[in-house]
Symmetry: C2
Subunit: 430 residues, 2 copies
């Protein structure tokens, strides 16, 4: 295939005419497809239906310490749930607090708590003139929305396949006391599917921030969400690493079963040092009488242990792996060598990250929408919704059926080509 | 019976000797009883076990609009849950947001939101020098703990059987812009079991606070928690009243099924004006992707409608009514005419409020503890844990079995008598 940039003006014009024709044909089909949402498909949810039966009307609903899970009590999680999510987070049960149905909610509350009460006794952020967060980009839009909501200034840090640019992270956190945190999705990152290298993790653990209340928000959302049995990314465990290098309090590790059991009806957890967990608990004890212990029990009785979780995730993988592969194969076949796009090929997680030529992402997403295919809003993967190069698009292959997805990705490919040709023609005319 | 205050010093000394002997006898029994906690008994929790079966592995888990409740989506509650909790709250479904498992958590978050983001566009409270709350006393300790946690100054307002002293409430909120809210448990109040009169509700709706961001925190925790079929308190519906008098935004109504289904595994809701709910939603959309819809569905399929809820609450009443009556009868029999205590006889809710002679509550609770009976900490029903007259004790009859409760209340009675005699003797000696 010849790269688009090597085409003459006439060749581009001919190509554009052909792509316009294809595009009109697609539009005429009146499609209504969605590649925007990191949601499990129905078939994945069906995998957890057995969970509806483990707590039946005749079941003993006491946890292993004999506490009746139907009543008030046990603020930070029943022991067996701490063990299960501890295993999933690769930490000891005593380093875990179990929360409600959403780890995003726990992250939000952690920022809210830092605003009003400060971190482990330091000045509440609402009393400071300026608070800043580092945001590896592209990244997870819901993280950025939280920090934006609290008026926290966000600084972009470029992502690499090994994680955030650590030279930049180190320099910034060492030099600016206003920088209080960094958002990380360290494994199968949203949207690239990158996993931080061991060196990156070690450098994170060794950060010497100017702010004593700086925290790494380590959102390990896809810790066991592999696509393959053998090709799997391995993430170095950071909490132990931090403890070993004398930096035990620098990280909050978040996890949840949202994309293991049921999104919105899972259980979430935080792993951190005792000092941090005590700080969390102080807030929690006033905020609530306790989280839903029956749902904790339901999860433990269904999954049993880490092996049970892994076995379950293999069934998820069997459903979504063909979707990822189909998207990747189609992009390979249709776009390789054209010089108009690059994309990731993750071994896990929920997304593929696509980078178009600079200045084309908005147009591509707009064209796709016109053709009946909803993509994640261009820019969504950057703070304030602003992608400085207007090139990143997040592809979410999981929710549609394979058949729908195939249609959608073929539409997407035409939109990428069309927007790229338009861009190159504008360049030639300029 | 002769009032203790009419007894001579010698009569008191003889009485004290007899009570000391009784107290030692009780201590020798090595009791371990608990009248401190507003928790349902096991038998009450058993009433809801059918809820464990309504969502089984073969059930269709879509809500009535066809949304799959197992997946992300529907931020503010499925329609049937809004209808159910709307009926329970006596408001239209469109005036309801459904939350997670705890209304206390929603109240906490409402204060946190007001601190960092302000109420409907007004200055965030964290930017103000002083924020104050009115606290009808005695009241619910968890309310007071929230406002204390956020550094909000609390002002005691005396309760009457018709509700808070409204002359005082009106005068304070009209004259002080720093007063941003008032905590209310308007029906079967914690701890007295009082229900606000219609006049009180009408005066609340007509408040003209100096602060435009003043809100009534109307925690209707016991709205359907009657003890009797015929003797029931009726609470005037405040949201409609506020709308009618042109004060639609002044109230947040909270409710939950914590003491209807399972404490900690119920569902919570807020009823308020559209403007207030929009303010809540703005925060919520950033805070979470959504609450547990499966638990919403579980509640709706089990209770079906308001009739179903009422029928269920009659079964609760059948279990706890004998407990309340036994406590009341014992107090009547043992203390009437002695002038050493007064107590409420509520038609619903979870508590009986006991007022000893001034300066005796701590001693009574201490004696009870010594004798093996745990009561709610004296002072807990007041802001900062400080009962200025040291006389209020909250009795929670629901959790123990009838047999345990009978033992506990008889111990309590001896402790009341003993503490009172000691107090009167000190007075005579002074």
């Amino acid at each position: 295939m010849k790269s688009y940039s090597e085409l003459t003006r006439n060749e581009l014009l001919n190509l554009k005419a052909e792509l316009d024709r294809q595009f009109e044909e697609i539009k005429a089909q009146g499609l209504s497809l969605d590649m925007s949402r990191g949601k499990p498909a129905r078939a994945q949810l069906d995998l957890s239906m057995g969970m509806m039966d483990v707590l039946h009307g005749d079941a003993d609903l006491s946890c292993e310490t004999g506490v009746d899970c139907r009543n008030y009590g046990v603020i930070d999680g029943i022991p067996e749930a701490k063990r299960l999510l501890g295993a999933m987070s690769e930490v000891e049960p005593e380093n875990i607090i179990i929360y409600g149905n959403s780890s995003l909610n726990v992250m939000f509350d952690s920022i809210a708590r830092s605003m009003t009460h400060g971190v482990m006794g330091y000045t509440p952020w609402c009393k400071l003139d300026k608070v800043k967060f580092l945001c590896p980009v592209p990244g997870y839009d819901r993280h950025f929305k939280i920090t934006e909501f609290f008026g926290i200034e966000m600084i972009n840090v470029p992502m690499t396949p090994e994680g955030p640019d650590m030279d930049m992270v180190e320099e910034l956190v060492q030099s600016d006391e206003a920088i209080k945190g960094i958002w990380c999705v360290p494994k199968y990152s949203n949207p690239q599917g990158y996993t931080y290298s061991q060196e990156t993790c070690e450098r994170f653990a060794r950060l010497k921030p100017a702010a004593p209340d700086f925290r790494i928000y380590w959102d390990n959302a896809y810790s066991i969400h592999h696509l393959y049995d053998y090709h799997q990314d391995y993430l170095h465990e950071i909490l132990e690493e931090c403890r070993e290098v004398g930096n035990p309090d620098i990280v909050y590790k978040f996890t949840s079963t949202s994309k293991v059991s049921f999104p919105g009806s899972g259980i979430a957890a935080v792993a951190a040092s005792q000092a941090n967990l005590d700080d969390f608990r102080k807030y929690m004890r006033i905020q609530t009488i306790g989280h839903d212990k029956l749902n904790q029990l339901r999860h433990v009785r269904f999954f049993k242990d880490l092996d049970g979780l892994h076995e379950h995730m293999r069934k998820h993988a069997a459903i979504i792996r063909p979707k990822f592969e189909m998207v990747e194969n189609t992009l390979d076949k249709e776009l390789t060598g054209l010089g108009i796009g690059e994309w990731t090929k993750p071994f896990g997680g929920y997304f593929i990250s696509f980078d178009s030529m600079d200045g084309c992402a908005k147009r591509i997403v707009g064209l796709a929408k016109e053709a009946g295919v909803v993509m994640t809003h261009a820019g969504a993967t950057f703070p304030y919704g602003k992608d400085p190069r207007d090139r990143n698009i997040r592809i979410a292959p999981t929710f549609p059926t394979l058949d729908e997805l195939e249609k959608a990705v073929n539409v997407f490919v035409v939109c990428v080509k069309k927007a790229s040709v338009e861009k190159l023609l504008r360049k030639k005319d300029a």
